[in-house]
Amino acid sequence: MNVIFLLIAASTLVAVIFLAAFTWAVRSGQFEDDRSPAVRILGDHKPTITKTNATTTKPNA
């Protein structure tokens, strides 16, 4: 069953990559705020060239 080693090596490799990613994410404060990001994605709107224009754009309408 030595192929299991190959699989484990590969799987572990991936797992470690993600561990590294996790460490980076935590260190750089990616998960500091666990509320705003969810709201942030909601209102991506047309750029407000002028105020009047802005009034016409209602996001997610």
């Binding site: 069953m1 699989l7 991936v14 750029p47």
Partner: protein, 726 residues
């Protein structure tokens, strides 16, 4: 400073169109194979004979028979429909989540056309019988390489975009995308390792049990990381957008991600319960599959609860309807999967239609409906208009849902029924249904209803096509959507915990690469011993390599996709040893490049078929199965009686096998053809005894040779002793 830029909608449109077109194609092929599977036995006196005649006709054609189209269906749905759908969703959401256009338009289009080219290649090669026979990885090595390249292109494009992002925080969806990319790359490469014979033929690097393990480690994770994680990412983006509510708990979504990632990867082996895989490895698979329930359901609830306080909107908003069903389907199949991986349920479900039902709840419900929901949400926005008809969308929803029900429910019954029939004994200890066919005829009704379900789902999709087409006609594509966002401020003040990792903070990719290199080094160090030490699969002395003729016969078996209906794995149950003979040992497969265990029994297991019938039986049976088995659903293989054995290839095949460590004597490749002709002559002589005039040069002879060899080795001597092979 505010920067103005534009989101690339053109590429999104391209992928979306592709997903629609290939979705239809994939479902259509699905419908065709569904009917092919059940229609074959239909006799002229049946009222619907002429209705199904086109399908039986196709089944009789070399290139359109079930065995060859079924891989086309799975590949089309997974890589063409879901694949393109995933890319459409990622290319749309990634740009907006990162407040940046895709890294490079050139790469985007290279990715698009490359991927479509691969799909076309698949659509051509699979019907031609050019296949590796490894499920969901049937494509031959040149295409595999192409896939790898395009995947890298996609990766560069995605990480490039992440690097030039204008939003520091990576939304959880992006993590799911990243996971998809990294993992699929690794799975694809490991599983596609093969020894090429020619441009269109290769033998898997691994043999038998090991090949099976790798294949299902891939098979499972392909489902995990190609069908699940990217779509979870899409769910976490499009669900809140459609509901205009933030996801129920962002914290939970983060936990969902990391838990899933760290557990999924290990759950592969559960596809091989009761196989010749070591017991502990099987149990391991089960344990981790069970552990998967927690994060999966966390994710499902998170998705559904996002609608809290907005359920009223679900009633009038088709997009939400689709998504709710999709997420529910996700929950259902992520619960069912682990349950099926428990030994008890698996002993019932495995090799039956239960599995088919399970995967289709996931495929039709989760992937299908989420894609539809996404399309209905995207089209009006990208073409700056309103959806042409909500009522049509609702119609699609209901028809589709009905389709899923009609598809799944009957197959659950079918699977259950058949499995019980297989195991049923008379009081005095004989199988009640000795003839396997009886257990199939019993569930034909389910196959018909399933076809109907598929048809419904397909017609629903067609309604969507019309709706989308009209919507697009009423609007104009916003090819480049204006956007503005301030560039990231350089002097980002994170928690001042030392400064060494500040460097990393600003360079996620470099860090990923560095760690990758480090770990790869470690990985290699881990792997090297495995290639130095000898295989510790218990091997059996009488098990010998296939003769050239058998080898060619085996290639035909692979080419025709026999594994899609016949397993080669007798499990250690009385019901199976009673029906097929001694259960399969790991040691018997050491020369099987690739393994042919199969995953579904529409026909009986063939591992012990060798010597069970005379050559003539096979000769007649392959030409017209019903002649030997009244009502058989198996298609006839007339072309095998004309196609000549390709003898030029034989030496190359032998050499390839030797390259994989199969112990043919030195220089055997030169004698191979002679050996082949000698064996062919024997078989022809055998057939003559039964009054059959056959040419020794046609494929059927080789196939007979292979079938007669199957599982016979250990019958040579009763006593089998186990040793370490050299």
């Amino acid at each position: 400073m505010i920067e103005r830029f534009q989101y690339d909608n053109k590429i999104v449109k391209a992928f979306m169109m592709a997903t629609i077109v290939f979705g239809i194609v994939g479902m259509l092929v699905g419908f065709i194979v569904a009917v092919e599977l059940v229609a074959q036995g239909t006799t002229t006196d049946a009222w619907y004979y002429w209705l199904v005649r086109p399908f039986t006709w196709m089944n009789e054609q070399e290139w359109l028979s079930f065995g060859r189209l079924r891989p086309l269906h799975t590949n089309a749905i997974i890589f063409a429909f879901v694949g393109n759908g995933m890319f459409a969703g990622i290319y749309y959401s990634l740009q907006r989540l990162l407040k940046a256009r895709m890294f490079n338009d050139g790469l985007s289009w290279l990715h698009f056309w490359g991927w479509q080219l691969i799909i076309v290649a698949a659509a051509i090669t699979l019907p031609l019988g050019i296949t590796t026979s490894k499920e969901y990885a049937e494509l031959e090595w040149p295409i595999d390489i192409a896939i790898t390249l395009i995947w890298v292109v996609f990766g560069i494009n995605m990480f490039g975009t992440i690097l030039k992002r204008r939003e520091r925080h990576l939304y959880v969806a992006i993590w799911f995308y990243i996971a998809t990319w990294v993992t699929v790359a690794m799975l694809h490469i490991v599983n596609s390792m093969a020894m090429p014979v020619s441009l269109f033929k290769s033998y898997s690097m691994y043999a038998g049990v090991q090949d099976a393990l790798v294949q299902w480690w891939y098979g499972h994770n392909a489902v995990a990381f190609f069908l699940t994680t990217p779509y979870l990412g899409l769910m976490y983006y499009f669900m809140p957008k459609a509901a205009n509510r933030p996801v129920y708990s962002y914290k939970l979504s983060i936990i969902h991600f990391w838990a899933l990632i760290f557990i999924y990867i290990w759950a592969g082996p559960h596809h091989l319960l009761y196989s010749s895989l070591p017991d502990w490895a099987q149990s391991l698979g089960t344990v981790f599959s069970i552990m998967l329930i927690a994060p999966s359901w966390g994710g499902m609830l998170n998705g559904l609860l996002t609608l809290r306080g907005a359920w009223d909107r679900v009633r009038e908003e088709p997009v939400l309807k689709f998504m709710v069903v999709a997420i529910t389907a996700y929950g259902m199949s992520t619960l069912e999967g682990p349950l099926l991986s428990t030994k008890f349920l698996n002993s019932i479900s495995h090799f039956t239609d239960w599995t088919i039902a399970h995967v289709h709840v996931g495929g039709l419900g989760w992937n299908g409906f989420l894609t539809f929901g996404m399309i209905y949400w995207l089209v009006p926005r990208m073409w700056g208009t309103k959806l042409y008809s909500k009522s049509l969308a609702n119609a699609h929803f209901w028809i589709g849902t009905l389709g899923i029900v009609f598809y799944a429910i009957p197959l659950y019954f079918a699977g259950f029924t058949q499995s019980l029939m297989w195991k049923q004994f008379t009081p005095d200890g004989y199988l009640v249904y000795k003839n396997f066919l009886d257990t199939v005829l019993q569930i034909k009704y389910a196959y018909w209803m399933r076809s109907l379900g598929g048809l419904l789902f397909l017609s629903g999709a067609l309604i969507m096509v019309y709706n989308v087409w009209k919507t697009i006609a009423s609007g104009k594509l916003i090819a480049n959507e204006d956007a503005e966002a301030p560039a990231l401020e350089k002097n980002y003040v994170g928690e001042s915990s030392g400064h060494w990792h500040r460097w990393i903070e600003r360079r996620p990719i470099q860090m990923l690469v560095v760690s990758l290199v480090l770990v790869a080094a470690g990985g290699i160090i881990e792997i090297i011993p495995t290639f130095l030490i000898e295989s510790n699969v218990p091997t059996i002395t009488q098990v010998k390599p296939y003769t050239p003729l058998e080898l060619h016969g085996r290639d035909i078996y692979v080419m025709e996709g026999c594994y899609t209906c016949h397993s080669q794995m007798v499990r250690p149950f009385r019901s199976e040893t009673e029906r097929y003979g001694e259960y399969s040992k790991a040691g018997e497969f050491i020369y099987d490049h690739p393994f042919q265990w199969g995953s579904k029994r529409t026909g009986p297991d063939l591992h012990r078929v060798g010597g069970k019938y005379p050559d003539s039986w096979h000769y007649y049976h392959m030409f017209d199965p019903t002649s030997m088995n009244a009502g058989s659903l198996m298609p006839p293989y007339a072309h095998m009686y004309e196609n000549l054995i390709d003898k030029e290839m034989i030496p190359a095949k032998i050499r390839a096998m030797q390259g994989l460590g199969v112990p043919y004597p030195e220089g055997f490749d030169q004698q191979a053809v002679a050996d082949l002709e000698a064996q062919a002559a024997k078989i022809v002589a055998n057939l003559k005894k039964d009054g059959i005039e056959a040419s020794p040069d046609v494929d059927i002879i080789a196939l007979i040779a292979y079938l007669q060899r199957l599982g016979t080795d250990i019958k040579q001597q009763p006593a089998t002793q186990v040793v370490q092979a050299q």
